[in-house]
Subunit: 192 residues, 4 copies
């Protein structure tokens, strides 16, 4: 099990760190620093989102007692989505203010919806088959309750792109902010 | 032994995450999103293939009791192949539909054949010299049986490229799908 | 707690290693090797700075007994700054000698100030809430004392850029050198 | 100590995996596959060299009982050299056959000499101050004996570049091959 976590932590960490290319490619020259604020927001949104997902994966794994090959395959699917995030992040940063904004926001949102689906698949399979004998029922219930809204929330924010790509991007930012607020305000739970 | 696994997990995770450049370089602009489906398929094929190889490496190491320098050298050879995968993946994604498709499919297949050879070298050396005293004979036999077909299967899929690069690429995708199906359908084995 | 460290170590290691692109993009050809000394200095300055920060994070974590979600969020904020470092490093290396030098030095310094703020936030929250029962009071006091000057020192070096970008860059280099000297001269403390 | 190894393993793994950009940038198109053999050789040489260095670092750490800040600083210096390797590798691969070959070979060799110096600094400081009480004297003597020739060997291969860059590059390849042969032929030592 610890090696699954090492591999997963590696993909989370590399995907988050590669996000810097979003900014780096958008700002070839210091003269562009002030105009590239969409890059900084996109970088921060995706970094925080991947960071929160890492936290959720960490919490999820504390309740899992053993790992089978199906669980590994589902985790690989989840990591495939996480590693994809830098690509739509760059598209969104570069094109939110031009005619490509709608497609960029759709690509970003679609990636997030897929990630949320994979997260639920990993969790609900793990909960059904691989739970620790001494798993904390309240934590298990809490995770289940917090995962369910992820899919419709990201789906709604994605569909908003048909009306307004900018509103969609603001919603992606707001979701990340909401997760941080939730973790900071109520997240006093101790984890060893 | 744990450090060999940390290093290996690092290379597996970084190589898998770098695959996103395949898509990122192929789609500079949201207008290209719809036409770049070969990139998405190539990304998914290689990500899943590296992920399955990571799973196999993980399973292999559970049966190995100690590590010597020859085993490390063989593992470095294996990792050299794994880290190479993003390159032919990009070639295949970009050129499968033009005149470079045959060479791209050959490069991809050749990389996979080399990887399969290195995997077998790691395993059969480890099985002969470094097996845990309490290794599970059924698992050992199962690994040996599952590794042997890898080389001829990838070799056959590679040679198909001389007749049809597209058919060869579909076979690479099918092999990855088959591995997932195998792991999902029969893979109920518990691993701690 | 160990997974937080794995994730953090991953981001530190990847961010440090990605710094090589600063040099790689600046020197397309061996003929440019001699003129690109600003790249080598920038690479070394940022690599050492990230390395020292990793050491500090390592030392900090030895005094922390448990981790809660707020601490994780603060750590994600810190890592977001660390992963950002390769971008202003490249700007500084390429533009310190042209008219973009001032903005590049400001971007570099601003990143360092943010990093120092996040480091203090992680530490002072951790010290207040999550300290090990058996934390060494002298080490705790030593960390607190060594963190406080970080923010004003980097802020001062940043503001110097308004007068002279080159002087600002030299100060960034000097700060990194000072940290090394401090660690080498007085750093005989054993850590397991 | 384990965190120093996690960080080091991360840098080794990322630096090795980034070497693929040497090949990827040199071969934009499948039509160039056959002509880019210098890239494949450079990739293999540097990957194996970094892999062997990882093995040596692994062996070195088995004899070290504790870590102090000076040892960490020396290790950061070593990792700064390791992370630098992808850059001269690309220069060598692209320019060994043109007029930039000499400078490229000098850059590659200089990086290797610096790496060998840092390796010796890490080891001889660690041997003097931080050895495990139960360190194996034969292993300690063996490491010392195997590290000393590294600096003059790489220095000699580097200086050959003034006469012939190609001969110098062949020597770099031969050194990597020699290390593999040594590890394979005599390297039956068990490591847990």
């Amino acid at each position: 099990m610890s090696r699954l976590e090492t591999f997963a932590d590696g993909v989370f960490a590399v995907a988050a760190t590669l996000l810097i290319f979003t900014v780096d490619q958008h700002v070839p020259d210091p003269a562009d620093l002030a105009h590239a604020w969409t890059s900084y927001l996109a970088y921060a949104t995706s970094f925080v989102t991947i960071g929160i997902m890492w936290m959720n994966h960490h919490q999820l794994m504390t309740q899992i007692g053993r790992v089978d090959r199906r669980f590994m395959v589902a985790t690989i699917g989840l990591l495939m989505c996480i590693a994809f995030v830098p690509f739509p992040t760059r598209l969104l940063a570069e094109h939110i203010r031009d005619s490509g904004g709608r497609d960029a926001a759709l690509a970003y949102g679609f990636t997030m919806v897929c990630t949320a689906i994979c997260f639920s698949a990993v969790w609900f399979y793990g909960r059904a088959q691989l739970l620790r004998p001494d798993a904390d029922p309240r934590v298990v219930k809490g995770i289940s309750r917090s995962y369910l809204p992820g899919i419709p929330i990201y789906l709604a924010a994605t569909l908003v792109a048909f009306a307004s790509p900018v509103a969609s991007a603001i919603l992606f930012l707001a979701i990340a902010g909401l997760y941080i607020f939730e973790a900071s305000a109520f997240g006093g739970g101790t984890e060893s």
